[in-house]
Structure formats: C-alpha cells, structure tokens
Amino acid sequence: MTTILKTENLTIRFGGHIAVDHINFEMPENQFKSIIGPNGAGKTTFFNLISGELKPTEGKVYFKDEDMIRFSSVDRTRKGLGRSFQITNVFPNLSVLENVRIAVQSKEKIRYQMIRHISKYTSLSQKAEELLGLVRLYSKKHVIASQLSHGEKRKLEIAMLLALDTEVLLLDEPTAGMSLEEVPAILEVIRRIKEQGNKTILLIEHKMDMILDLSDSIMVLFNGKVLADGTPIEIMQNEMVQNAYLGGLYDEHIAKS
C-alpha cells in the first residue's frame, strides 16, 4: 500500500505552548483513519498544518511524496487535500445551492471564466443538487445559508467538502450538533465514500461509536503528541487512552459488547 500523506517531525508552537509536537505520521492510500484525543490535544491544529492553514515551526508535510510546505492552502486544496471545518464555515448570504456550486466550480476548475453566464454551466448545478440530495439538504436548496439550523449547516459543510472531490478528505467533527436521527444518514454518506475505495479519509470525532464503526485505524493525540496509533481494538484497550480520553465511556463500551 502506498503512503499518500506523511508528516515528519511536524511541530507548531504558539508562544510557549506546543500545540503539535514532533508528529511523525503516515497515511496509507484509501484508508480511513480517525484522530481522537482530549480537547485541545492539537487535532484541529494538526489538520491546519496539513491543509496549509498554518505554517509549522518545524517539520514537513508530504503529499504523494511531494513536499507541501511551500504550497499555500489554496494550492494544497487544488492538489487534492480537502477539508471541512470544525466551526461551521459557509457563505452566509448565499443559498444552499450556491454554496455547494462554488465548491463544484473549484472541482471543475471553472475559476476564471468571466464571459459565459453561469447558468450555461448546467452540470455545476446538477452536481450540486446531487450532493445536496446525498446529505439530505435538497429540500432546502434555495434557503439562505444563514437561516439554516446548526445541524443543517454541518450538512452543508460536508456537501461542500464532497463537492471538491479531493483524494484526501479531512473531516473535523462533521457530525457535531447533528441530530441523532441525522447522524446515521451522514455516517452512511461517509461509509459510502469509504466503500468506493478511492478516497483517503481522516476524521476527527468525539463520537466513539461512529469511530469504531468506520475506522481502519485510530491515532490518539495528547498534548500535541501521538499517544497511541493502532486498530480500533488496540486503542480501546489502551489504558493510557482510557484514562486520558475515554473515561467512563470505556466501561460502557465493554458493558455493551
């Protein structure tokens, strides 16, 4: 299996605080990996370093063996590193459909065309509508994004990421605030993408059920360092992980199974 994403000694310091601390990490192609860890462990920051939102103080990021450090976040997205955001981050005054369409535009490389009317690009809207169907937001396609409820915004966020159709998907708590009823639907979407087998997925989540269900492997971050990395079972049984992160949840999990 080839490694698609790799970090070497990846480190970032904010003042005295080391948020990500010499992380060496390898991601095999078309795998599904989850990242867990306590709040403030550095998960989101780790994503920010991979996607280029932040520049590391030290260390390297490789995507398909290419050094990514000199590339901006824009270039990295274009090369195939797509991400969703932990805080909902959409275009508030555009309709749901337009939000997704912008993302499709990027995927289709329709970036600088300034003569033809956008409605002539019918495939854009079609693709966007398809994706909205996938995340169960089709009925709201003409609603202004700022009027969506919190959970609906999360779905929109996912649709936008899927629209980019990048090889690597970085998902930062995609289901936070999503209703119990909806979570399975989104899981289904993620599962289907996984099953297509041509996407590498990195997922940050705190919902253990979901992680155990989907992940090929799990990495645990703690204070910016890798505390453990392994299969779901290994991780669940790791005592350090239990103490630092899971707490009573582990007992519950045992009880359930």
Binding site: E53, T77, R83, S95, R111, M114, R116, H117, I118, V143
Partner: protein
C-alpha cells in the same frame, strides 16, 4: 425565473430605446447634459459596485482611476489633436494605464483587511493627487486646463448618444461579468474570504481582477467626463468623486449593478431639483440640508438601497422561505 428574466430584459430594452430616441424628440440641452452626466456617473458607480457590491471591498481611492481616464483623454486631445481617432486612442490608453495601476495598487493593498485597505487606498490616491498637482507642466495643477473635443461632439446630442452606448455596453459586459462563474466567486470572496480560499481559489487573484475591472471601467467614465466638460483639473481626483461613486452605489443598492445607475439618477436629479427650488423658495436656500435628509431617509426606507430593497420585497411576496433578494442575483 426565465420569464421574469425576459420581462426584465424587455423592460430595460424599452427604457434604453426611449433614451435613444430622447435627443431626437426634445431639444432641451439641459436635459441632454444632465442625462449625459447621469450616464457617466452611472458608469463610475457601476465600476464601484464591482468592488463594493460584488467583492466586498470598500475603496476610498477610486477617484484615482476616474482621474487617470480624465487626464489621459484631456492631455491627449490637447497635445495631439481633437479628433475621433485620438479620442478613441486616449480612452484605450487611459484604460490601459488604469489597468496597470489598479493591478499594482491591488497587489500592494489588497492583502490588507477592511479599514486598513480602505485607508491605504485613500493614501495612495491622495499621493496620486499630489503628484498630479506637482506635475504642472502636464496638468496645469489645480487650475487645470481646457481642451477641444472632437468636432462631432460639439453637438451634445451626438455625445449623449455616445455616452449612452458606452453605458449600455458597459452594463451588458459587467452584467455578463458578474453572472459568470468568476462573478460568483467574487461574491464568495465577499461572503467569506477564508472559506473561498479553502475551496481552492486564490482570493488575491480575484480581488485584483475585480480591482482591475473596476479601475478600467472607472477610467472610461473619467474620459467621458473630461470630454463632457472639455476641461480637466484636479477635482477629478478628489475624495468627492469617490464619495459620489460610493453614495450612488449605496443608494441604488450594492451588488445589484442596475442600482448604481438608479443611484446616479437619484443623486443628480435631486441635486438638480433641490438647487432649483432654492431659487424659488427661500426655505430651500439651505437645500443641502434636504439633500442630507434624503440620504437619511433612503437608509430608513430602503435599507438595502432602492433596487436592493425592492428586490427583497419582491422575493418575500413571491416565494416565501426562499433566497432573499440579494446581490449576485441572476435575475436582472
């Protein structure tokens, strides 16, 4: 959707036709000149709308590009010869210079955030004004100079028609521009710059493109303005011009393209009528007070600008819980 789109187009076409016939059925030069003036400022305000309404950039230095157009045309007609050829050449030259300068200015300033950007554009255009003032051999400084317009423009009606054609063409091109895929990305930049970046768009490129387009169009407006006066001085570079463009855009409705045209009409006409009233009724001697109150009333009754607010009302009535009338709408 389509039918409404068509209705709008038919409506606009009728208005344009009426405006084209206008000089043939009336001989009021006042009206010809006033309308010409409105058309010219409409072009300027539309160019400003590309910045403010579509890309979300408040610039306090837009007069710079207007001035570049005005001076290029003025100087060339004065120094070379007042012919149509030179006139066209001067417009093109002005646009190229404005394009280059707006490109450089854009690169220099557009990395800055909101207020800081706005003030930096103010600074640069201020410096440009000083430069113009000091380059007296070319510009005659603050006094300015008069020049001859091409012979055909002596007939104001001909010039009126030329400006109207420019307005219509600019409007069509700019509408195309904002409704293109690129136009939609500009709106995305306005709405959420950081998110646009993470979708793989180079935000600075788009801002610079918007700034160049706006600069080039503003220079066209400046060139026409200079011809309409056959005179140019440093007033074309002052903050007042930028503020006029800003006000017209806001009054009409930002991000509507047609709004700035309405805004230009409202400002010029109300100015015309109010100052006219001043001669007849003593209470209107301080007509500027009423003019100021007009702005205040527009904000209260048309919070999204005239066109913007009407559009919102239209959407509310027609399609509840659907996209509210707003900027990049495909409907006009």
């Amino acid at each position: 959707m389509t039918t409404k789109y068509q209705w709008n187009n038919i409506f606009l076409t009728i208005i344009v036709i009426v405006l084209f016939i206008f000089p043939f059925v009336t001989d009021s030069r006042t009206w010809t000149i006033l309308l010409t003036q409105i058309f010219i400022f409409s072009i300027l305000a539309m160019s400003y709308d590309i910045l403010l309404g579509y890309t979300g950039i408040v610039s306090f230095g837009h007069a710079m590009f207007f001035g570049i157009g005005a001076y290029t045309t003025g100087v060339m007609l004065d120094r070379v010869e007042p012919t149509i050829g030179v006139f066209i050449l001067s417009i093109v030259t002005g646009m190229i210079i404005a394009g280059i300068i707006s490109f450089i200015v854009g690169l220099l300033t557009l990395r800055l955030k909101s207020h800081f950007y706005a003030m930096l554009t103010l600074a640069l255009s201020g410096l440009f004004l000083v430069l113009t003032e000091k380059w007296r051999s070319l510009t005659s400084g603050n006094d300015g100079f008069t020049f001859r317009a091409p012979e055909v423009f002596k007939d104001r009606a001909v010039f009126y028609l030329v400006v109207l054609v420019c307005l219509v063409v600019t409007y069509i091109l700019l509408r195309r521009f904002v409704q293109s895929p690129l136009g939609h990305i500009l709106v995305a930049v306005r709405e959420n710059e950081q998110r646009t970046k993470s979708l793989g768009f180079k935000v600075l490129h788009y801002k610079v493109i918007a700034s160049v387009v706006a600069g080039v169009v503003a220079s066209l407006a400046g060139a026409l303005y200079a011809i309409s006066l056959r005179f140019v001085n440093t007033s074309v570079l002052t903050m007042d011009i930028t503020l006029d463009a800003l006000l017209m855009t806001i009054i009409g409705g930002v991000g509507t393209l047609i709004g700035p045209i309405i805004g230009a009409g409202v400002i010029e006409l109300s100015q015309h009528y109010l100052s006219g009233l001043a001669k007849e009724y003593p209470i209107f001697e301080r007509w500027i007070i009423f003019f100021g109150i007009l702005y205040i009333l527009v904000v209260i009754f048309f919070p999204a600008g005239i066109v913007g607010t009407i559009r919102q009302a239209y959407y509310k009535r027609k399609k509840p819980h659907v996209v509210e009338g707003r900027s990049n709408s495909e409907d006009l």
